[in-house]
Symmetry: D2
Subunit: 140 residues, 4 copies
């Protein structure tokens, strides 16, 4: 994946099953998205007056992760539609190809004043396309 | 909905947008599921040797909830399939019909020893059907 | 104690020891403080331009609390000094006199603009004294 | 400090004041303690049958930390007494000498079976002294 963030599993991440609690994964995914934007050479903050909102998260819990595991959170923009986009995120057990959890995170870009979702077109779409393909190598 | 849990939104639930953070909703949903089982007259704990595991959560964030709001978390078992079931959960702004968030939570019942999902049949299916319809009024 | 909030311990509150994690208690204490103010007949919000800030928490963890326990969070204002006050909070195992955790929470009232702590005097002190003794029965 | 862990402040760490919430700091401190043990050349896990329990945290909140700040969590063992020890921890704003929060964390070592605190003597004390001074350079 284009961006990777490492998280070591600690005691406070676990719940009564001694596995990472399902709510905690959403913090790991949010951490991954912050890193995705921060590390993206084509990102310099959102233009004034707009904001990024998550409207749906569809997450599969495939395996338990436990104390001492390290997860790699991978994040890509996988789809850009008319009014919303999707970031695909995976938590992989480091050193393996085992997917612990994966999620599609649907987002909209809202006008901060009206709180309405903007159509993804023009300069806004161009920015999202550069974020989706930071090196500009691939045709979309 | 058949079971309702109230949660008052406090300062520590909010994030930088002064809305409830998206990870926190998964704790609210888990709270709702614990209350669903606890309050269900047909539930007296899982039979020995089996456990309830969440394998997917598909959650829509429809509105922001903020300080001073009270959410009602409603929980029902909405589907029982061959190997998995679905709990439908909604967070409603108290005193309104506004859905702040809603989710389908897919679960499996695993054999605690093998960690494999059990087929929902026989006594296990009968238990889940009684949980789904605690008053036994409705044909399924 | 003058104000009591009940919290049922759920799976997501626990950590690898199957006890409530030490960070989670600080959320329980914050929940108790919100309830303290909300339920206090002498509280109608802070006057404009001032804010309540926590500057120290000194918490004793006396026993583990686990799944199915119910904690009662009791909260009082126990001290008002020149520049700061203290709220004493206890988490009691419901139905017993067992103190699971207790804390002194030191707060200041800041001028929202300058972010400096205000001297507790005049009307501000009178308000805090009414909060400390909501029924006005006791001499301080 | 002898061990340092970096934490970047993200949106999900903040609360309604857009500062890191006071409960979250206890997770940062726990993260720092895990790293302290993990990185300590003299630590190879606790001997069988004993466990590390936190019995008191006394934390000062000195400044707000906000989005984009990086905190360095420093951790040392600062005191070893008869029945308990103290870890001193500081959260410093990276690149400055500003202390955002600092804490004394009092711990005991318990017999896992009896859950009673052990006297810090003999081999157990020697281990803790090596952890306190990993390079063995300083007289205590």
């Amino acid at each position: 994946m284009s961006n990777k963030t490492e998280i070591k599993i600690r005691g406070y991440h676990l719940d009564m099953y001694r596995h990472v609690n399902n709510a905690r994964y959403l913090e790991f995914l949010e951490e991954g998205r912050w890193a995705f934007f921060e590390d993206n050479p084509n990102f310099d903050g959102w233009p004034k007056g707009i904001a990024f909102f998550v409207v749906n998260i569809n997450i599969n819990y495939r395996m338990g992760a436990t104390l001492g595991d390290t997860l790699e959170i991978g994040t890509v923009i996988s789809h850009l539609g008319d009014k919303s986009g999707i970031m695909h995120q995976e938590a992989i057990l480091k050193g393996t190809e085992s997917v612990v959890a994966d999620a599609d995170v649907t987002f909209v870009i809202v006008d901060s004043r009206t709180q309405k979702a903007l159509t993804l077109e023009g300069e806004l779409l161009a920015l999202l396309e550069r974020l989706a393909d930071p090196k500009g190598l691939n045709a979309r």
